[in-house]
Symmetry: C2
Subunit: 348 residues, 2 copies
């Protein structure tokens, strides 16, 4: 077992709710001119001038969305922020502020909450986000996080899910499937540990997959990249529930169909190796796995030359007329209807 480097445990009761908020947020600095008033009043005050404001919110619940058996609290805090920022990026907006609400049962000492907040603060630092408010309370069971992310964009920059045209190309940032396989690796190690707690896991061959699961990044870089390339997406969504599920969302809202090409799916070499080891089809993982937090978007076919060869972007298919349906075209050139097998917390 690892030595506990911080054997001091402080009960949260000693600080109380206001003391805890003060303690956790006292070092936060305001980074945006749009933040007129952050933490410390009944509400925060923001000013976006002529820009539009974009807002999104997510719940993260222990035992449903994360497992503290292999999710370090600092990573959890970091991930809780990035998954929310990802929604702002999916509107082609720039994330600027978040509110952070935390509920914890009394099994968590102050030091655990501090660790969680370290991850939150790190993400706020890296992504230049102001933490402008929130709530801190006790829970009956486990750790619960609710984050609301706010962003800004010029009206003409905002990209919805419903603008894809039947001739557009379908593009994804980064690579996909790795976060889901990272979770499979961690689940396996948890089971090994339960059988033999003295077993030291060797995770060297899985580092990329595990990092994709435990410390995903929000693609705040894509908005700027597309501006430089002079490409404006016609529709955009982020990949939280799995590629197939997100493609179906885009198609439904844009009233188009889609051909997705198996051979075009951007897979990391480590994903392919580990899928072989687990005897799982990597295409199935790439299509139905989730939590990649990459951006999926459509662009006019005329813009192909502008993004061609860019290492951050891969054309994985093209939109078609609605009546043609939504299909995966396999390497064997078979068309298989895409169905949503995305993650559903109610049937997990």
């Amino acid at each position: 077992m690892l030595e506990d480097k911080n054997p001091q445990k402080t009960s949260i009761d000693q600080l109380g709710e206001f003391g805890l908020i003060d303690h956790l947020t006292k070092n936060f600095q305001i980074k945006h001119a749009s933040t007129i008033k952050g933490i410390g009043d009944d509400a925060a005050v923001l000013n976006f001038g002529t820009n539009k404001m974009v807002v999104s919110t997510d719940f993260l619940i222990e035992g449903v969305h994360f497992d503290l058996a292999y999710m370090p609290l600092k990573h959890l805090g970091y991930k809780a922020v990035t998954v929310n920022l990802s929604d702002i990026c999916a509107m082609n907006a720039k994330p600027t502020q978040i509110t952070v609400s935390i509920a914890v049962s009394n099994r968590f000492p102050l030091e655990a909450i501090e660790e969680l907040y370290e991850g939150i603060a790190l993400a706020a630092e890296i992504y230049k986000i102001d933490i402008i408010g929130g709530d801190t309370t006790s829970s009956q069971k486990g750790l619960l996080l609710s984050i609301t992310a706010i962003g800004e964009a010029k009206e003409e920059e905002i990209v919805y899910r419903n603008g894809a045209k039947a001739t557009d190309l379908l593009v994804v940032s980064g690579d996909i499937g790795s976060a889901y396989m990272g979770l499979q690796v961690l689940e396996r190690e948890k089971q090994v540990f339960q059988v033999n707690p003295n077993n030291q896991p060797d995770l060297e061959n899985y580092t990329y997959l595990i990092e994709r699961q435990l410390k995903p990044e929000a693609r705040t870089d894509i908005k700027e990249l597309l501006e430089k390339l002079e490409v404006k997406p016609t529709a955009m969504i982020d990949i939280s529930d799995g590629l197939s599920s997100e493609i179906i969302h885009l198609c439904k809202q844009s009233e188009v169909g889609c051909n997705l090409y198996e051979e075009k799916l951007p897979l990391d070499p480590q994903l392919i190796t580990v899928c072989e080891e687990f005897k799982i089809d990597s295409t199935t993982i790439a299509i139905n796995g989730g939590e990649d937090y990459e951006l999926l978007f459509t662009i006019p076919i005329d813009d192909f030359s502008k993004i061609k060869g860019n290492p951050n972007l891969t054309v994985i298919g093209h939109m078609v007329n609605k009546k043609e349906g939504i299909h995966l075209i396999t390497r064997a050139n078979e068309a298989i209807e895409l169905k949503s097998l995305g993650w559903n917390s109610f049937t997990k």
Copy 2:
């Protein structure tokens, strides 16, 4: 026992997360021009033009903030919205939008969530609020609500906690203490019911107190009232944790002291009667009870004539220099130091 008018119970699993959101939100109408895009994309899009935006968020957790033994789900939904709107009112802003995140364990059928949403929708209707997004997920235990409220105001209208001057008057809207006594009545009835489930409670003498606890209203009317009276508060806060706790917040942030007069406290006659029945001092309840969701604010002493005699507003004290401290002046003209005994979820 009452007859179950709706014996059909539908499992949430059947709908899935997206189906549930669609089902619950399909009838919501957009009421504000500032809501460019509500539910249905990665994020909502808002436009406040030259106005400032105000944002606040709250967690409501079963077993910590509410008890479903006496809190009907529809009331819970209504209250969850109003307590958040109250924070926006406390900035002297106008509430315009909310996001609603709900997590439920599988003990809740769809019909229960529908009832909860009925209350949310009713509050949105009455207060003319757009529901622009949220999250719906499963929980490991109980029902959890996280609401973020958004409002707008002109920059010069916004009132912070830190503007009170040492000569200002301290004013409260409505009456205080009743919500807390309503909770005491409900707790007593719960215990009676546990001993004898056939006992039919007679709550006729407690209707006002119970309504203040189960269905509090947000004072969205006060902003308009003060405008008409041509009074601009110098500092403002809402009473969620108890009068003493909120006075201390105002004093600390404004760097002033305060004299609060026991004889001026606005108490409902029902509160006084029930406090006698429970053998509790009504001043203690008025000062340390919480959840009144009234507005507490300071005004320049020269504005006294403008608010004098208004049935919605009561002058309960005046601010003094910081070094004079924060005191309750009793009917016997004793000065007792005010201490915060407000509600703390961690030591409940």
